[in-house]
Subunit: 212 residues, 2 copies
């Protein structure tokens, strides 16, 4: 999964103060790249600064601490995928709600492929490291999963109302199962450097939905 | 999941050379504890030595490098769970092969509970960190998953031959799915500090086996 670069601004010259915002933005993007590849603990602030060409020591002009930087990355990554989910799940060009969920999955899978399966999920990576993270991160990470799960549960309920899945399916539980399995699949796809674990999980997930 | 302490030796006094082996063993156990809680990168050698009461600087009497230490931990953890799997999957007091798999799962779940869901799976934790690990670790981690998966696949095939699951089930694929989802569930159980993600995954896994 990845955060797409924002479109470059054209035309109007930057106002005063904007270069600072641009640098901050670049640091956040470099942070996402590093945290999705190797996690929080292995990410060095110096290395993030170097990758953006910002002088060593100037990090604290932009962020109060590495902890504050990481917290912002969690929230930002959570919001980015929430938006991506909503874009697909509300896509009225696809009448079947399950097709919308499949479109989100295909999008997330394409994101992994674009980075040659070197980057995993920032939330999953940090979830794995909790023993070494600031204590406040656990709640933040759980809140992101709860948000993503609620969106998938709502999609499954609409699919159920639409007759795409049987009435007895517990949509909340299936949505929880989706994120549990998806994170495992992302972990394995990154380790194997190929999409097969994602495909195996997705096939089993949809088969399970249809057969209850 | 955890590595159980070995039983203490009784009787016979230790031969010369044994204290060195004991220290080495203690360092490996402390390494498992740390790697299952927070991964490889966050594990400091000094901290491992301190927890065992071994003087700083003596690590290299026991291991060639942190990389060699980690490699031995991967192999050891892989072998430990392979043995645990085999013990359950060959348990003839349980006639149904799926019940043997359930017994393994209950054992692994009890291991997480014993550590209050603070420790995850060493292989999953390191799988998540691959971007920051020695390159040779990926093959080692994949080899462990391949071994665990082959054992579960063999169990599912015996269950199939026994009429416990339908003939059309692809046992290899289901075994792959098991480990993909299980690692996701362990990650989430550790993050939430409760067994619910394990329960949700296990229920969905067995339901999927029955309904194909």
């Amino acid at each position: 999964m990845e955060i797409q670069p924002l479109p470059r601004r054209r035309g109007r010259p930057p106002r005063q103060g904007e270069p600072r915002q641009d640098t901050r933005e670049q640091l956040l993007r470099a942070g996402v790249a590093s945290l999705t590849e190797k996690g929080f603990v292995a990410t060095g602030i110096d290395e993030v600064l170097r990758s953006v060409g910002v002088p060593k020591g100037s990090f604290y002009h932009y962020f109060a601490s590495k902890e504050a930087f990481g917290a912002e990355l969690i929230d930002r990554y959570g919001a980015y995928f929430a938006k991506k989910l909503e874009r697909h799940l509300a896509d009225e060009t696809l009448p079947a709600h399950l097709d919308r969920l499949r479109a989100f999955i295909a999008d997330a899978q394409a994101g992994m492929a674009r980075h040659d399966y070197r980057r995993g999920c920032l939330i999953g990576n940090l979830g794995q490291e909790t023993g070494a993270l600031p204590a406040a991160y656990s709640n933040r990470l759980n809140a992101v999963f709860a948000d993503w799960q609620a969106r998938v549960a709502a999609c499954l309920k609409r699919a159920q109302a639409n007759g795409e899945i049987a009435a007895q399916v517990d949509c909340e539980r299936q949505a929880a199962f989706f994120w549990i399995g998806w994170e495992g699949a992302v972990l394995r796809a990154k380790l194997e450097r190929r999409p097969r674990p994602l495909e195996i999980f997705v096939e089993a997930f949809f088969a399970g939905l249809q057969q209850r």
